[in-house]
C-alpha cells in the first residue's frame, strides 16, 4: 500500500510538502477549503481500510463520522468549548463503540446484504438525530468548538490565525492516520485483511477466524471515521443530520474509487480531487452536481483503477502508456461476489 518505487516516494513527499505549504501562499478561503478536503480525505482513508483492504463495501460509514461530531456536541457545555484532548478521545470512543455494535451484527451478512444492513444502520442513526430532539432535530445545532488547550494552558488564536491552525491540526491527523494505516497494513493483521479480500474461504481454511479480523477492521475504521467527524465539529462548530446521511457514505466511496482502490494515497488524492472539482464546478457553472455526476460516470466507465492507476510509461521505448506495474489481483470466484 506504500509507494513501491522511488518516483512514488518522491510524489508522496512532494504532495505532503505542497499540502503543508498551502497556508503560506493560498488565501484564507482556500485554506478553509483545504481543511474540508483534509476532513474528507480522513473519512475516505478510514473507509479504505474496509473497502480497498478488506473488500467490505459499506454504505453506512457516514454514521460513525456523524456520531463522533454529535458526541462532541453532546459533551460540550453551551458556553465554553472543551479541550481537544477531551473531545477527541470521547468522539473516537463513541464512534468505535457504535462500530463494534453495528459491525458485530452486520458482518454476519455478506456482499449485497452487508451493503444493505450497513445502509440500514446508517439510516437508523440518521433518523435518530432527524426525528428526535437529541441533537437539535432536522435543523442541526451549533456548538462551542473544541479548543487547542492542554492542562490548563490554552493556545489563544486570533480570528485570522485560527483557520490556519485548524488546517494544520487536521493535516497532522491525516498524516498520522496515513502512516498508522501504512504500518497496520504491513503487519500480519493487514496481510490477513488482504487475504480476506482476495479469498475469504481460503483464509478460513488456513485457520483464521475471519469474522474477528473483519470486526477489528470495522471498529478501527469506525474510530478513524470518528477522528474525521471530530475534526468536522472542530472546524465547522455545527452538526446536522446530513453528516450521518448515506450520501456522505456514498461520497466517501466515490473519493476512494476516484483516487484508486487498493492504495492508501488513493483516498487522499480522491478527496482532494473531488473537493477541488466541486469547487471548480460551483464557480464555473453553478451546476455542481451535474459536473460531479459526469466526472463520476467518466471515472467509473474509463478509469476503473482511479487516478492513482494512471502511470507514466515506465519504459519509454515500449510504448505502453498507463500500463500498470502491479500484477492484476486474482478475483474471488464470481459466485461469491454475486450472491454474497
Amino acid at each position: 500500500m506504500l509507494p513501491e518505487t522511488k518516483y512514488g516516494w518522491m510524489g508522496l513527499v512532494l504532495g505532503a510538502a505542497a499540502l503543508a505549504a498551502l497556508p503560506l501562499f493560498a488565501p484564507p478561503y482556500y485554506v478553509e477549503l483545504g481543511t474540508y478536503a483534509v476532513i474528507a480525505a480522513m473519512l475516505a482513508l478510514s473507509l479504505q481500510l474496509l473497502v480497498g483492504c478488506t473488500g467490505l463495501v459499506s454504505l453506512g460509514h457516514g454514521a460513525f463520522y456523524g456520531l463522533a461530531a454529535y458526541a462532541v456536541y453532546l459533551v460540550t457545555p453551551e458556553s465554553k468549548g472543551l479541550s481537544i484532548f477531551v473531545t477527541l478521545p470521547i468522539a473516537v470512543l463513541v464512534a468505535g463503540l457504535a462500530a463494534l455494535v453495528v459491525g458485530a451484527l452486520s458482518l454476519r451478512t455478506r456482499g449485497f446484504f452487508f451493503l444493505m444492513v450497513t445502509l440500514a444502520f446508517g439510516q437508523m442513526v440518521f433518523f435518530l438525530f432527524h426525528d428526535t430532539k437529541i441533537g437539535g432535530g432536522a435543523d442541526g445545532a451549533f456548538l462551542a468548538r473544541p479548543t487547542l488547550s492542554f492542562l490548563g494552558y490554552e493556545l489563544t488564536l486570533t480570528r485570522r490565525q485560527r483557520p490556519i491552525a485548524i488546517y494544520y491540526v487536521g493535516l497532522m491527523q491525516m498524516v498520522l492516520m496515513y502512516s498508522g494505516l501504512a504500518f497496520l497494513l504491513r503487519s500480519l493483521f493487514g496481510r490477513v485483511l488482504e487475504g480476506i479480500r482476495v479469498n475469504e474461504h481460503r483464509m478460513q481454511a488456513i485457520g483464521y477466524n475471519t469474522y474477528r479480523y473483519k470486526l477489528a477492521a470495522f471498529v478501527i475504521a469506525g474510530m478513524l471515521a470518528g477522528v474525521a467527524g471530530h475534526m468536522w465539529a472542530m472546524h465547522r462548530g455545527f452538526v446536522n443530520p446530513e453528516l450521518v446521511g448515506w450520501h456522505r457514505s456514498a461520497e466517501a466511496l466515490l473519493m476512494i474509487l476516484l483516487g484508486g482502490l487498493h492504495t492508501l494515497h488513493g483516498p487522499i488524492l480522491g478527496a482532494l480531487a473531488y473537493t477541488g472539482l466541486g469547487e471548480l464546478a460551483q464557480s464555473l457553472t453553478e451546476r455542481k452536481l451535474l459536473v460531479q455526476g459526469l466526472v463520476i460516470l467518466a471515472v467509473v466507465l474509463v478509469l476503473p483503477r482511479g487516478l492513482s492507476g494512471l502511470r507514466f510509461p515506465r519504459d519509454w521505448r515500449r510504448k505502453l502508456p498507463f500500463a500498470s506495474e502491479e500484477k492484476p489481483v486474482p478475483e474471488a470466484p464470481a459466485e461469491s461476489l454475486r450472491h454474497g
Binding site: A120, L128, H130, T132, V300
Partner: protein
Amino acid sequence: MDLAGLFAQLLNGIQYGLLLFLIASGLTLIFGVMGIINLAHGSLFMVGAYTAFVVTSATGSLWLALPAGIVGGIALGLLLERFLFRFFYHREHLDQVLLTFALILLFEEARSLLVGNDFYSVPIPAVLDFSIPVTDGFSYSAYRFAVIGICLLLAALMFLWIERTRLGAIIRAAAEKPEMVDILGIDARRIHLVVFAVGTALALMAGVLAAPLYSVYPNMGDGFLIISFVVVVIGGLGSVSGAFWSALLIGLVDTLGKAYVPVVAGLAVYVLMAVVLLWRPFGLFGARSS
C-alpha cells in the same frame, strides 16, 4: 384511538405499501436477474412523479400521464440498459453503486434544469376527487382507493407474467441460475432489456400515481429508494411475491408508526430490517440459503 382513524391509517398503510411494491418489484427483478444494485431506481420514481406534474399542468389530466409514464419508462429503461447498465453486470458492487449514484446526481440536475427546484402539488383528477363512505361516519378518499386498485391490478399482471408465462419462467430461471439459461441458448441480452424496461416503467408508474398524494419536490426519490431497498431485502432478493408481502408489511409499519408513535417511526422500518436479516440473512422469502 378511535376505530375510524385506525381504519383510515390501515388503508393508508396498504396504499403506501402497494406503491412501494411497484418500485421494489422492479428493483428486485433487476437485482435478481442482472445482479445490479440500482441506486438510481428512486430517481426513476422521481421522473415518473415529475412526468405527472408536467403532463397534468400542460393538459389538465392525470390520465394522460399514466400512458406517458409507461411509454417513457419503457423507452428510458431500454436506453439505460442498452447504453449503460449492460457494461456493469460483471463489475463489482462498488462500481455499480458509484455508477448509479452518479445517475442520481444527473437525474436531479436534469430535473432542476427542466422543472426547477420548487415544490409543486399535482391536483387529484376531478372524477376521483371525492370520498367514498365506508361505514357510518367514516369515508375514504376515492383516489386512494383507485391507487390501491391500480396497484393490485399491476401486481396481478406481474404475478401472471412471472409465474404463468414462458418469458416469466425464463426470467425466474435467469434469477436463479443465469449460467443455465445461457447454456440453454436463450438470448440473455433480450431478457435483460425486457426486465430493465419493465422495472423502469413500474417505477415511473409508481411516481405518476404518487404525485397527487405526496406532491413533487427535489430529492423525492431518495426516501422512496431507501425504503424500497428495505422492502427488497426483507422480501428476499429477486422474489416478486416476497417483495409484495414485505412491501405491505413495511407500508403498514411505517404508516401506523408515523400516526401513533411519531418519534420512533423513522427508525422502525430499519430496526425491522436489521432484525429480519439477523434472524434470516436472506430475507423472509429468500430461497437462497448457501
